[in-house]
């Protein structure tokens, strides 16, 4: 089965190509079904590859499938090759699995959109690029996917490009990601110039054996982290992700919550031996940036009123958690949280999409309330997602968050405290959201006039094709924690499965105080989550305490405005300076050369008088001069 792994990216690519050719003719819902079937087929192949890999002994779970020699130039040989190992298959499983569910959901959500078939071209193209990213055997193939998902993300954020805010948000995402891509490219160049290869196996082997200097591995790790900051929305480059919510909700769920934004975490895990070989402060930097992002985004989410913005900041915060884990050497926990987060955050986004759909494209939570009676399935599944992200046992989010906190405690207690505060805020703002949307008083009647065409406005439950993915994801969010239960070593399924990839760099904490008292830490986490939920109920449901939603938090600490001011003011001036230098210095040099040639040629061409005998005379005189030189040189010499 493993030999057929090339089918994995091939299915969605073929789907996209067919849709480009005949998508319009297939129309609705044919185009959506085709795209969904391609993703489901890809998922089926992934499951086959997974079981094939599982049937092998642990040390043989590593297979490189070379498709063709891509760039053979001198000492640089880059193959278009796929790397099949536990990490890439784990990623591929949830990309294609959740991707297929979201494709199905989108058939319902995009109903009636004039660009229905084009939406699915982008979606299939995205799945293809994402699979290339995680399956790539070397940095360049990954980079191909990395740019591919970036482009698809841009297309899909600006999908409703007639809306100015959507067009601007797409541009913002693209430009911000460019800064990160610069880091990835530089890391790639550095790897090639120092060890002469961009293949993961070669780089990791060089880091492992020590042939790569420590300063080089530090530089590569940090440059890749710059790329991860862009793609995975970490401080200071997270700016684009909240704006990316301008895209259709299935896109927010698939790209900006479950898959693409986790590719930074994936890349750091893939290169974990390099991070392990790097200077100690490199992982520490990553942990600090992760913790800062987690706390920063969580505080902002507390004061947002747009149903999707809350989830967007929550995603940024949870990604910060994953980087906190990566920086603490908890790679398994990072991947664990990535997978459970993909389950419950996709569920929450799709749930919010269902609410938006039922509310006729209303996203302001202040205009919702008491929707649980009208949308029972959406409400029930959303509540499961809420319990999972808030860290309530036994839902999936609790186990993965607990695992991360355990490792962070063993690494650094200050970061652990930040993690706990973030967990408290997460429980608080998610409870706030659930209360504002599904409980309390119904406020949507007051705004029914805004939805004029519908006359007697009443929110409605979504169609079955949108509810089915919600139910599946709700089940996964409930039982997903079973991948890695902390009670016994035998229940660490994910850890054993990922061991061949990460065991070298994984932190060993079994002798620490934290590990011996893990049930105590677990209790603390449960108390913190309960406190957050209780606080939110007191504030928003019982109304015993006033809501604290200062403008500074609603405006994201004015970070966005400050960045806009800096880039728009001094930044704009600086770029104008660069443009001036380009027009005058660079172009000046080029134009100057041309002018010089033209002037001297004009002077020289006077000598071409068209008087043939004058030419002959000059030739004769010249010959005499040359002869004379020979003769007299002989005499003088």
């Amino acid at each position: 089965m493993i030999d057929f792994a090339w089918l994995l990216p091939a299915f969605p690519l073929v789907g996209a190509l067919i849709l480009i050719l005949v998508g319009r003719r297939l129309g609705e819902p044919g185009a959506g079904w085709l795209a969904s079937l391609m993703t489901i087929a890809s998922f089926a192949v992934t499951v086959g590859v997974y079981f094939d890999l599982l049937s092998r002994p642990a040390e043989e779970r590593h297979e490189v499938i070379t498709l063709f020699s891509w760039i053979p130039v001198g000492s640089l040989t880059i193959d278009a090759a796929l790397l099949i190992d536990p990490l890439s298959v784990t990623m591929a499983l949830f990309i294609t699995g959740i991707g297929a569910l979201i494709h199905l959901y989108a058939i319902g959500y995009m109903h009636g959109d004039p660009k229905f078939s084009r939406f699915f071209i982008y979606l299939n193209l995205f799945v293809f690029s994402m699979l290339m990213l995680v399956l790539g055997e070397n940095l360049l193939v990954t980079f191909l996917g990395w740019e591919g998902v970036g482009a698809c993300s841009y297309f899909l954020i600006s999908f409703w490009h007639t809306r100015n805010s959507a067009a601007v948000a797409g541009k913002k995402a693209f430009v911000t990601n460019r800064i990160g891509d610069f880091g990835v490219m530089t890391a790639m160049f550095l790897a090639f110039s120092t060890i002469g290869s961009v293949s993961y196996d070669a780089i990791n082997e060089a880091a492992h054996s020590g042939t790569m200097a420590q300063v080089t591995s530090t530089a590569i790790a940090l440059l890749l982290f710059v790329g991860a900051m862009g793609k995975s929305a970490q401080l200071p480059l997270y700016l684009w992700l909240p704006d990316a919510m301008e895209g259709p909700t299935p896109v927010s769920a698939l790209i900006h919550a479950a898959t693409m934004v986790t590719s930074g975490v994936f890349l750091m895990t893939r290169m974990s031996p390099v991070l392990h070989a790097a200077n100690e402060w490199a992982p520490m930097t990553i942990a600090i940036v992760g913790a800062a992002t987690a706390l920063f985004a969580a505080t902002i989410a507390v004061a947002q009123n747009d149903i999707k913005k809350v989830l967007a900041y929550s995603t940024v915060s949870q990604l910060g958690y994953m980087f906190l884990a990566v920086g603490s050497g908890a790679y398994v926990a990072a991947i664990f949280h990535m997978v459970t987060h993909a389950f419950f955050k996709a569920l929450l986004f799709l749930g919010s999409g269902s609410v938006i759909h039922g509310m006729h494209h209303e996203q302001d939570m202040r205009k919702m309330g008491a929707l649980r009676a009208l949308m029972p399935v959406t409400a029930f599944t959303f509540i499961i997602g809420w319990l999972a992200i808030a860290g309530v046992p036994p839902f999936a989010g609790f186990w993965s968050k607990d695992e991360i906190l355990l490792y962070v405690y063993a690494n650094n207690r200050a970061l652990y405290a930040i993690g706990l505060v973030t967990a408290l805020l997460t429980a608080y703002y998610m409870t706030r959201q659930v209360i504002m949307v599904f409980f309390g008083e119904a406020k949507w009647q007051d705004h029914s006039a805004e939805h004029g065409a519908h006359g007697d406005f009443k929110p409605h439950e979504s169609p079955g094709i949108m509810l089915f993915p919600l139910v599946v994801l709700a089940v996964l969010s409930t039982i997903g924690g079973a991948m890695q239960l902390p009670f016994s070593k035998n229940l660490h399924f994910l850890e054993h499965w990922l061991a061949p990839v990460v065991e070298e760099a994984e932190a060993h904490i079994s002798d620490t105080w934290a590990y011996n008292n893990k049930y105590l830490l677990m209790g603390v986490a449960i108390i913190v989550a309960a406190a957050g939920i209780a606080l939110a109920i007191t504030v928003y449901s019982r109304r015993k305490l006033p809501a604290i939603e200062p403008r500074v938090l609603e405006q994201a600490w004015f970070y966005d405005a400050a960045a806009a001011k800096i880039v728009g003011g001094p930044g704009y001036k600086a770029f104008e300076g660069v443009a001036w230098a380009d027009a005058h210095v660079v172009d000046g040099a080029v134009n100057g050369t041309a002018t010089l040639v033209r002037t001297s040629a004009t002077a020289l061409r006077k000598s071409q008088g068209g008087f043939v005998r004058a030419y002959a005379a000059i030739i004769a005189l010249g010959s005499i001069a040359v002869l004379a030189w020979f003769v007299f040189r002989g005499i003088v010499g």
Partner: protein, 106 residues
């Protein structure tokens, strides 16, 4: 009687060659008819040929004569091209001097 027998030495041939060469050069410089100029160039070429043969004989080497054959072949080729051009120019214009052929001047 013996005194009257003049044996031409290499110097004589070289002097003749020089005279022919200068004649040819002056002809090219002063004449305006392209055909005449062309013949003057031939004269210069053959002046050089003469010096080749003379010097070749003096140092007792066949190389001088061999080179002359090359020169003759090249000169023949040159005549074909040059005369072709001159004849086609002559056909288009009634009276031609090289001074009038200055369309390509700078």
């Amino acid at each position: 009687m013996n005194a009257l027998v003049v044996v031409p030495t290499t110097t004589w041939y070289l002097m003749l060659s020089a005279v022919l060469f200068v004649l040819g050069t002056v002809g090219v410089l002063v004449r305006r008819n392209p055909l005449i100029m062309f013949m003057c160039i031939e004269l210069m070429l053959n002046a050089v040929n003469l010096s080749f043969v003379a010097l070749g004989r003096q140092i007792d080497s066949i190389d001088g004569q061999a080179i002359v054959f090359f020169v003759l072949v090249v000169a023949a080729a040159e005549v074909v091209v040059g005369l072709g051009i001159i004849v086609s120019i002559m056909r288009r214009r009634n009276e031609v001097t090289v001074d009038d052929l200055a369309e390509l001047k700078g």
